[in-house]
Amino acid sequence: MATYQEFIQQNEDRDGVRFSWNFWPSSRLEATRLVVPVSCLFTPLKERPDLPPVQYEPVLCSRANCKAVLNPLCQVDFRAKIWACNFCFQRNPFPPSYAGISEVNQPAELMPQFSTIEYIVQHGPPTPLIFLYVVDTCLEEEDLQALKESLQMSLSLLPPNALVGLITFGRMVQVHELSCEGIAKSYVFRGTKDLSSKQIQEMLGLTNSAPLGQQGRPLVPQDAAAFCRFLQPVHRVDMNLTDLLGELQRDPWPVPQGKRPLRSTGVALSVAVGLLEGSFPNTGARVMLFIGGPPTQGPGMVVGDELKTPIRSWHDIQKDNARHLKKATKYYEALANRSAVNGHSIDIYACALDQSGLLEMKCLSTLTGGHIVMGDSFNTSLFKQTFQRVFSKDYNGDFRMAFGGVLEVKEMGVGGTNQWKVCSLTPSTTLGIYFEVVNQHNAPIPQGGRGAVQFVTQYQHSNTQRRIRVTTIARNWADAQTQIQHIESSFDQEAAAVLMARLGVFRAESEEGPDVLRWLDRQLIRLCQKFGQFNKDDPASFRLSESLSLYPQFMFHLRRSPFLQVFNNSPDESSYYRHHFVRQDLTQSLIMIQPILYSYSFHGPPEPVLLDSSSILPDRILLMDTFFQLVIYHGETISQWRKAGYQKMAEYENFKQLLQAPLDDAQELLHARFPMPRYIDTEHGGSQARFLLSKVNPSQTHNSLYTWGQETGSPILTDDVSLQVFMDHLKKLAVSSST
């Protein structure tokens, strides 16, 4: 299987693609029998420092409904200067510019190593990037100050020619005009009124030029002049804007006792979307929403301003007691859709101790490829660094973000072509794509055939170029009847776990938690039944091949993960976790499902240990990475030593080093992670230790402690089943003849 591992790794490195099955079942029926669907995780903008973009445009299949891009899998007749589309078999002549083509003089896109290739589209004027800050001013003074500083700082990170805009809101929504000298001008909208895009544009005085900027056509800069009042190139207004941000006041409206501040998030977003929609349709734009609490008035309101009415909890939602939920969600979805249509993405930076309505608003980011960042306060490094990282640059000095992305997937023998708007992409944005084999069982694809999939991603690079990245991959078809071994061995359990988890999360959005778990369990059991080797009704005889061996464990942790378990999580947190889960790449996703635990001790070099309560030992320092949290846990003894201050003594230099080691590693992780994880430094008995304790497999609990009779590890006070119990049940069910 090493080969497969290598193959998979190679594929991922080259194309950013990981399929759940690397052999494809040849018919629909067989595909369904595999339990885990044929699907892949695709990272469209996977960073490829070794892949220089080509300076010409792709050659497309001439069939109108195909339009596939010429790729290495195409058959080429160099003499006739004809290529055959490997998707529709259309024979296409090469364009005149390819006249010099020959076997020894092949264009890059025909070379196998260029299964992924990036074209730079030359035509069309470059369109600037747009950053529209939408800032909540109903913040504590300290928070606002921190946010203002972050925003001011961000100006220096923007490309000089990028356009920036500022909308602030509280009880009212203010669109700030940036071009003016002297008096700072802003347009104010009442926070309770839902306005149509047209009304907003009229009120902003944009109507005169609106007819010019028709939808579907990016505005040329001259047209944009009219909107300059609100969106100005950074280099021209950064002073102004810095001052403006500096003078930004907290929302001045008094908040009576027992009330929440009135926060018109809904209208603010509506105005932002309306502004961009009218002025820069189909241009890469990023609406960055900074909120310090839930929307409390107007459309999109999540909770009333009465403090005595708490914001909805999962409990309320399950009881159908969240009266604003549906309305607000619908409102934000509509906004998100409008925004997506125009290729604008929306980020949400929510920093509040209580919930801030992410549940309702997450679609804004989910549907538009925006970020969601959740923190306790804007005045934390978590937010500050995360925000900074939004503007991080790649090796070329370009932003690690792309805009207006459109992903097109063309498959052969699997299904039709589909197209999605992703709006905003980062190099790590990873999509789960689920295929359906449409072949009927009675008309199997011939043996040895290869199925091909082409991903065409058009996007606006952060340097304003429009680019097209094309990834074409192929996999063999296999007959599930005869080649089940091949198929089984081609199983990518990591990818499959993530893909199944994404399905589960997707279901969890709309279904009750227990239902999702049941579904997940059933799928797991079916998979085990399909590929496990066992004797009926003999759990002990159950065996799984290596390619599936880890899968049940992933499922165990997935079941306990915050993506499916809402207990102890607020709806906002769940939304936040889920949002990130469905867009991170495989590695990160796996970490999310099953956090990584490292152990540091005097017994040896740092080593990964089982995510198990048995790993929690007094003389260890543990470093757990759950993606969202980074927990450093000092065992009881270590903790005592530390308190005693041994690390300060020269003779205990080694102890100091031991203490330092996880910190360094954590820093490394922190540095690469987006969003910044919550960094937790705790110790045995510390209140924050719960983060660790809730994650580890409760192999020892207060119930089992004495049964196991072991002194090692730390018992977890939980009623959750342990992995052992889970596996036992799984085996029992898998072998049971009744299911």
Binding site: M172, Q174, E177, G182, I183, A184, K185, S186, Y187, V188, F189, R190, K193, L195, Q199, E202, M203, L204, G205, E247, Q249, P252, W253, P254
Partner: protein
Amino acid sequence: MDNTMTHWKFPLLVSRDRFRDELRMNVNQHTRMASPYGQPQPGYGQHGYAPLDGGYLAPYNGPGSAYQTGAPPQGYTPFTTFPYKAVTAHPVSDLSSPLDLGPTRGPPTSGPPPASAPQQYNQYSQSQGDIQNGPPSATQAPPRSAVSQPYNQGAMNLSGQRFSYPQHYGPPPTMQQVTNQMTGMQIASGPPTPAGPGYVPPHSSQPPVTTAYSATPLSSQTQAPPPASSASTQLPPPTGPAASQQYYGGPPPSSQQPFNSSLPPTSQQQFTSSAPPPPPQQTLPPSSYSGLMPPPSQAPAPPASQPQQAFLPTQPPFSSAPSPVSQPSFISGPPPPAQGSFPPTAPPPSSQPGPFPPLGPPPTSAPSGHFSGPMPPQQQPPLSQPSPYHSGPPPPRAQMPPTSMAQSNHLPPGPQGPPGPPGPLQQPPSHPGMQGGYPPQQNGAFGQTRGPQPGYAGPYPGQPNYGAPAPAPAPAPPAQKRLDPDAIPSPIQVIEDDKAKTTEPFTTGVRGQVPPLVTTNFQVKDQGNASPRFIRCTAYNMPCTADMAKQCPVPLAAVLKPLATLPPDETPPYLVDHGESGPIRCNRCKAYMCPYMQFIEGGRRFQCAFCSCITEVPPHYFQHLDHTGKRVDCYERPELSLGSYEFLATLDYCKNNKIPQPPAFIFLIDVSYSAVKSGMVGIICQELKTLIDYLPRENPEMESVVRVGFVTYNKVLHFYNVKSSLAQPQMLVVSDVSDMFVPLLDGFLVNVNESRLVIESLLDQIPEMFADTRETETVFGPVIQAGLEALKAADSAGKLFVFHTSLPIAEAPGKLKNREDKKLIGTDKEKSLFQPQVSFYNTLAKECVAQGCCVDLFLFPNQYVDVATLGVVPVSTGGSIYKYTYFQAQSDQERFLKDLRRDIQKPVGFDAVMRVRTSTGFRATDFFGSFFMSNTTDVELAGLDCDKAITVEFKHDDKLNEETGALMQCAVLYTSCSGQRRLRIHNMAINCCSQLADLYRNCETDTIINFFSKYAFRGVLNNPTKVVRDTLVNQCAQILACYRKNCASPSSAGQLILPECMKLLPVYLNCVLKSDMLLPGADVSLDDRAYLRQLISCMDVTESHVFFYPRLLPLMKLESGSLPVAVRDSEERLSKGGVYLLETGLHLFLWKKASVQRELLLNIFGSQSFNQIDPTMTSLPVLDNPFSQRLREIIDSFRAQRSRYMKLIVVKQEDRAELLFRHFLVEDKSASGGASYVDFLCHMHKEIRQLLS
């Protein structure tokens, strides 16, 4: 008392109708004399005469007897006045000459006259026209000719003051005479002649007086007068049943008799009215005619006028003098007689035909002529008097003249007769005696008139004359000498008299006292009733019963100006604090503690003076009573001893039981294209920088607590954050005008001192920011909403200053469309143009009031902006509207800025509620002013400043008690500019009367006019203007008729008798009627009118007075320390080579004749040439000469007196702007068809007579 008793009597001349009537009367009389009389009598009897007739019938046939008995004597006595009449007659006689004048007159008016004349009629009332028509047909050129003369006279008056008046009088008589002559009265004249001779002298004397006339007319006059006078005099005297006959036979004796017998003035009246007129006319005409025939017109005229005057005067004296005793009796009798006299008129026609075929026709014709004539007369007169007579046109005049003639005749006779005979003399004495009071009256009204304006005495039939005459025959001559054309009551005279009379401070302690006129400077001492600066009443004697009030429709109203500023030498109301429990009030009606509350039971309780409920005195307020039942501390407590004071209000009086926030001023400035271009924006911003330091404050030492906010707008609104912590102001644009809101709270309303730098920076930048604006559309509704919302958000009351330029056509609530449609003017739909075109603003106004948001609107329109609609909110919130049409920075800046400064600085209260409580028996039923009412009792004023007046009308709901009088208490709860909640209380006690005479004696015409104007200006909302005008005329006619009927001593119907206190009612009323609101000229826009409506609605009496009757000062000689005496608003008062200053409270004109003296020009303008003077100048050059200094002082002082700055407009004669100036010469005919004073008086008289008949 004195005043009340005096009446103004006018010669018949005044009304054309009279002529007719009189003529008829005469005819009848004649007939009667012959036999028909009996017939007519019945008619007389019908009216009120009956009784008399019954008694007298036998002898005289009623009228005669009545006349003789009462009237003659009195009349005669008054006749002493006759001389005056004679004088007047002279004028009449002058008629002939007047004729000449007439033409001249005609010329002036001529162009217009023809038209104008008709118009006038129209104005008056069509009825006249009808009548005229009737009569004219009946007759007669001749009468007309006569008429024509009168008109001429009238014209004359216009042209030349003195002449004119006399002419007036003269003409009428002449007419009559003429007619008489025509009729062949000559014969009759014969008899009179005897008397005539006697008269003649007077006449002659008179003629001389009327120098002008004397020329040609004299002869005729003399002749005419004699006859007429003789006749009339004779007639009257004889009138005694037998007398009448005798009379005819020998007037003199009769006259004497009458005198003697007819001590009662009533008799005189009767004479004048019924008997006298007829006889006189007939007789006189004949007599006079006979003599006059040739000169008839002239001659008759004079006599006629004289007689009238004479009679009138006599009567008045009588009424005055005898009044107490005789009157009462008369009253019973008199009225009838008077009526009778009128009736005669009616009957006459009928009778006339038969008996006096000749006469009848003529008279009738005359009357008819009059009517028709009046119109034409003016024109015609000029044309050719003689011919007119014959011709159709004359008739109208004839009427006039006839009446006048008749009157004059009568009068002359009376006077002459009387004078000649002892009667007159006797009477005069009697008058004097009687008039202990009388003279004063006359003096008040007339005396001075005489003095200053001899003309008055003369012209004014009776009164002046009387005043003069009454004293003695001698006076007559002087009167004659001084004879001034002005015979009709002169506002200037009245004003000056009042000034002269007022030497002492006015103390308010006495109930029912009539304060000095608003034009008089006087000091007030509050001794228990509110100062007239706070409250002025139409009547200080209220009729006791509703029936009385109904009978005499003098409006019972008060003009309240609760926050009026007092002159420095008067103490502002004291602030009283009754502690935590709040002001002491009656338990039942909630009236506040006031001097009228009666403490009982040793001071433990008090009885409410309003509702009689007994309330416990709270322990902390207890005080012992002295032996008179007064609290010992009475004089230590303002609320127990003063008419006006303030209470500190407690929390209970605050909205939501919260101490109010200090108020806020929000400036909302239009920055659309036209606003910027006109310079308005720049000027405002510049000015506000300094003005914000002058926000109202209670204590000049302290900082104002008023906060300010700024908004600019075109079709979107820009709010400004001027928080002190900002380096630069911030602009917040709200374009969602459909649903207005305030975008910010903190930083919008700021303390001036804290945010000064930011505010100044803002005001510097606003003009720059919008310098290049191309936005032409504006909104308006949302602007007010914005201010309102801001105040709501700040939870405070306040004032919005909106500076607006154009019709708000941008898409927004309250959007308007241009609906100015000149075609609708004058139609029934006209009223709709004064109503708001959308209801949006009414609703908005209501909200504003609820929040205490007062709106002041400054308009800078270049075209129609629909003031009627835009003004709804200001008007309902106690705000003001200022309008600067075609605003140009250079020429209008000063006016605007001065207005703005004053408007911002003036003391103002917010969130006010006014309630007027009254003692039982009457209550406040209607309110006029700038405010809002959500129920029938509470006047809600979002803002109430020191210039706002509210007129309150009262009605009876029960009987009033003469003993206790009528009390009213006006309580205004308001938030002071320092944010203190206060109650201002004004108390007023007035008398109640069971005699109408008391009412007439204690009323104030200026206040009545204030009420009428407000009433009428509001009326146009629901009625066509014509209906409104007619209603006004009608009510005034009723008022005057009621007086005539119930209070005046009987006199000839031809006499116009006006109560002393109301003698200016006609002239003022005419001013109201011809105001732009009720009778717009072609160049008066709808906006102007709507603007005026608003202005009037909150004017106090001072303002409304000068507004309707502008002050016109001759500037030829200026002395420091005193103002030159004003002259009447008539072109003929403007002397050659003069320079005049005219102020209306809104406008200030400096008018100069083309022939102005160079020296004057040099002094004023520093320029010698008339043409070099820049007509666009708005201020006079500062020259270092006493004249210039004084003049500028005067102008400044004028401006200081008015709540609005008056831009100085320099008008040169024959300038285009002169039309504007002339518009304010309100005694003249107006270009828009408004009647001249004289014409209107005639009309009024006719109306009165109609009512009486």
